[in-house]
Symmetry: C2
Subunit: 523 residues, 2 copies
């Protein structure tokens, strides 16, 4: 019913567009003067959702009303920085403003809030409205909470995933085999993608990896790769890089893949929500939109991982497999050891250092990061019909040990725009402190969540050089007074927040060697 | 851990407070210049939750960052209008800003999102944080959705209600008997309070009625009373009025009763959410905080009412009774006919007209509004131990017919500050149109939701004279071309929105006399 927005034959009076230099992050805000004739005539209220049209473009925004003519004058329509940029016009361009009708899918949202099952059409309508920014933050969080945990059955998860794919562009690489790997997250330092991608690309598989930035963690693959190279590339450039090098390691946000997912994350992040249904829809929609045909998925389990038991991991595996199958994606789920962080560094610079050490076969390279990456790369190599099941690991190891993986990584970095980075002297936060063992013992537990929280409080991922550098891992002996880890920060306030958190709980438990928890995972 | 906010021994540098003339409704917004030293040093992000302190007061706000010195300069800290008013200082007052730690009750919120049962302490912690504006809109909607429908058991509803009472002030009228009536809502035009209150007050019962404004309806009692008198009175003045006249009819918002509820409503309203648990907690917390000892509660049932069947009404009744009993409130639930709007007018001015006609025993007074009000007033009068069960109705009728109720109403209006209102010539919206019957027949259905929606689209309650005036009620015959109702609006856009809605569905169904739905309700 778009025509109902302009009931008046001549349409609402035009105002002059003005860029208001206020950064409201991802929330579009429109500013009207309290004495603006249009404001009075239309009977708007502050915080109304309005529709702003100019130059054939249309955006939705929240209305703020001002009485300060230095912000907007009566004949002007102000837009916050991002919103103004979306209109693609110069200041002073004529624009109209009207009440936004509530999104058509709100009725379906209400049914989901009331616990009903939704249809394929419902999910498509909701996801389309979300992708078009028609939902308010309140409505988005209602959707996220209402579809949390057991509230979506597996066919609904498939519908949601399919709708999220349909909401964005879908890449066709014109290749028979496009491989990718992904981890469900929750393990600090787990930067295997930055090793798996160059290994499989060196073998010749196409692996155009687009990653997210950190959602609830101290660093995502995109944040860490950004230490080494530019990750925000226009899609056409990414495409060239993949054609030439068989791979890339970029941020997925610019590719317009699954845009509804990006909007949902803006609410899931502050709520720290990551339910199975949303996780499956988010991961698989992005992978399919990115054109993957084969995916190796890493589900770590451990007492402080996202998944805490084998039955839970198996249940999640089945949900991934069901959805992937319905979408025609070949999926190989690998359940891995998630009892502690992977590698030593947690935070963009520290993780980039670990990755480069593994690629260079450096004596200080973290062995667990190397081993896990080789195993995942091996599984991915076995997507190649010419490789016999079981042979992948040895091939991956040869590629890494021979330096071919490093060479491929350097080529990818150069293509994306390499940044100066010396992993022997990484640029860490200038402020730091050490957390030491209070007694002699063996490390029997490292709390992933607390390590992540300390690294975040210290400033990661926003401050690249902030984070945590682990000195001891599970099963290692330590004496009273010896370091467990060091925390790096750039700002005094961050350092103090992190220090207080470590004083409440260091994240380490010490005990006898026999108390180290076992883990039984396949490989 | 408040002390962690200022880790630096000398504390963060002070900025000068500035009132930014932007109305952000109920959302506190703080504005910093992008080049402000504090902003850079603290590593804030746009949309961060920050804490602003000045003059011993502390508020939480969302941070917007600007590069326009006309909004704030580098040494200034801007606050949106409401936020500035909360600080109670003059412009230029020194103020500090720091990162706000996430509210302590967020862990409990997450447990509720994951479907766990919460304890009494959890509810108190959550409600306290909500009342102190520590929750973001996203967190508020997560709470509202996670506690929706079956997600709260009855003891949790009691905990929530109790916590909401504890979050605000509680009135003590120093009277043995303080009576009140309340309707769960959903029936347009249902303005019985404005008749029940003067009737029972004329009898001598204390009835200090504080009402809400419309939440999801075209008019609340406060909106309608506002046509006749001032409803926003300081609490001390209300108190005087009640001492002198035994009653008042005021807006509850200024009384600081159950402030957490006011915050939750800001999210429930855009989501149109009104689950049983939240309804019980909202209504009973306000009544108990307002000092009521006896409450008559009206639950209308009908095909388009909030409650659609007798079993559902009985279930809701039991939840109200359980919670009221645990809180020591004497509660009498009355299940009433909710098949259609009550009275003829829907919208503040039209409803005020109906109320005054009933009080004046006017020949055009809507009979259903009169009868329902007398019945509810009768039940409430029976709270008086001197009145025998069953005698209340006749006493209420005598009070109304004799003009004593009108006299009491005039006294209350005068005390609150009467406004000029001539119900023979009410000031209706200047624009109007009629919706007519398309065929001959008997009215077999009137959709409450559609009538409410049309009245809202026409501008009610914000435009007092906007709304719907019904010409026919259930069971009445009508001929093709005769009017069903008239819609009033003040703005052309509103009128067109309303007209389009009536064209999609008039809200009326016509048929045979035998098809009029029956209703079986006690009285």
């Amino acid at each position: 019913m778009q025509e109902t927005h302009e009931p008046d034959a001549k349409g609402p009076a035009a105002l002059q567009l003005r860029r208001v230099a206020i950064d409201t992050y991802r929330e579009n805000v429109a500013y009207l003067h309290r004495d603006c004739e249009v404001y009075r005539a239309e009977g708007f209220q502050a915080l109304s959702k309005v529709e702003v049209s100019a130059n054939g473009r249309r955006i939705l925004a929240t209305l703020n009303v001002t009485s300060d003519p230095r912000i907007v004058q009566c004949h002007e329509l102000g837009l916050s920085e991002d919103a103004f940029a979306q209109m693609g016009v110069l200041p002073g361009h004529p624009a109209t403003i009207s009440q936004a009708e509530p999104p058509a899918s709100i009725a379906a949202l209400h049914r989901k809030i009331n616990g009903e099952r939704l249809t394929r059409e419902d999910f498509h309508a909701i996801v389309r409205d979300i992708a078009e920014h028609r939902y308010s933050k309140i409505e988005l969080s209602a959707f996220v909470v209402a579809t949390n945990r057991g509230e979506l059955d597996r066919e609904e998860v498939f519908f949601l995933t399919e709708a999220m794919i349909a909401s964005g562009r879908r890449v066709d690489w014109r290749e028979r085999l496009v491989v990718d790997k992904h981890c469900i997250g929750g393990i600090p330092g787990n930067r295997t993608s930055m090793l798996v991608v160059p290994i499989v690309a060196a073998h010749g598989l196409v692996c155009p990896k687009t990653s997210s930035r950190a959602i609830t963690s101290p660093a995502g693959t995109a944040d860490t790769m950004e230490v080494l190279a530019n990750v925000e590339l226009p899609f056409d450039r990414l495409s060239e890089i993949v054609r030439e090098h068989r791979a890339c390691l970029a941020w997925g946000g610019t590719a317009e893949l699954s845009p509804a997912d990006d909007v949902l994350i803006s609410v899931e992040r502050p709520l720290s929500l990551d339910s199975p249904g949303q996780m499956v829809a988010s991961i698989l929609s992005k992978k399919i939109a990115a054109g993957s045909s084969h995916l190796v998925l890493d589900i770590p389990i451990g007492p402080t991982a996202k998944v805490r038991s084998m039955p839970e991991a198996q249940k999640l595996r089945r949900l991934f497999e069901y959805t992937a199958h319905r979408l025609g994606l070949s999926l190989d789920v690998v359940i891995t050891d998630g009892r502690q962080p992977i590698g030593n560094g947690v935070g963009p610079v520290l993780e980039a250092r670990d990755v480069m050490r593994v690629l260079e076969n450096h004596p200080l390279a973290p062995i667990d990061l190397r081993q896990k990456s080789l195993r995942l790369a091996g599984r991915l190599l076995e997507c190649d019909p010419d490789i016999r099941g079981g042979d992948g690991y040895a091939i991956a190891r040869d590629i890494l040990d021979s330096g071919r993986a490093l060479e491929k990584m350097r080529a990818i970095m150069a293509a994306q725009g390499a940044k100066p980075f010396d992993h022997e002297r990484p640029e860490l936060g200038a402020l730091s402190f050490e957390v030491v063992a209070e007694r002699d013992g063996v490390v029997t537990g490292i709390d992933n969540l607390q390590i992540a929280r300390v690294a975040q409080l210290a400033g990661a991922p926003k401050v690249q050089g902030a984070g945590v550098d682990l000195a001891r891992k599970l099963g290692e002996p330590v004496r009273a007074g010896e370091p467990l880890y060091r925390v790096y920060a750039a700002f005094p306030a961050d350092l103090e927040f992190a220090r207080l958190a470590t004083q409440r709980f260091s994240a380490y438990t010490l005990g006898d060697a026999a108390e180290v928890p076992h883990v039984f995972v396949e490989f």
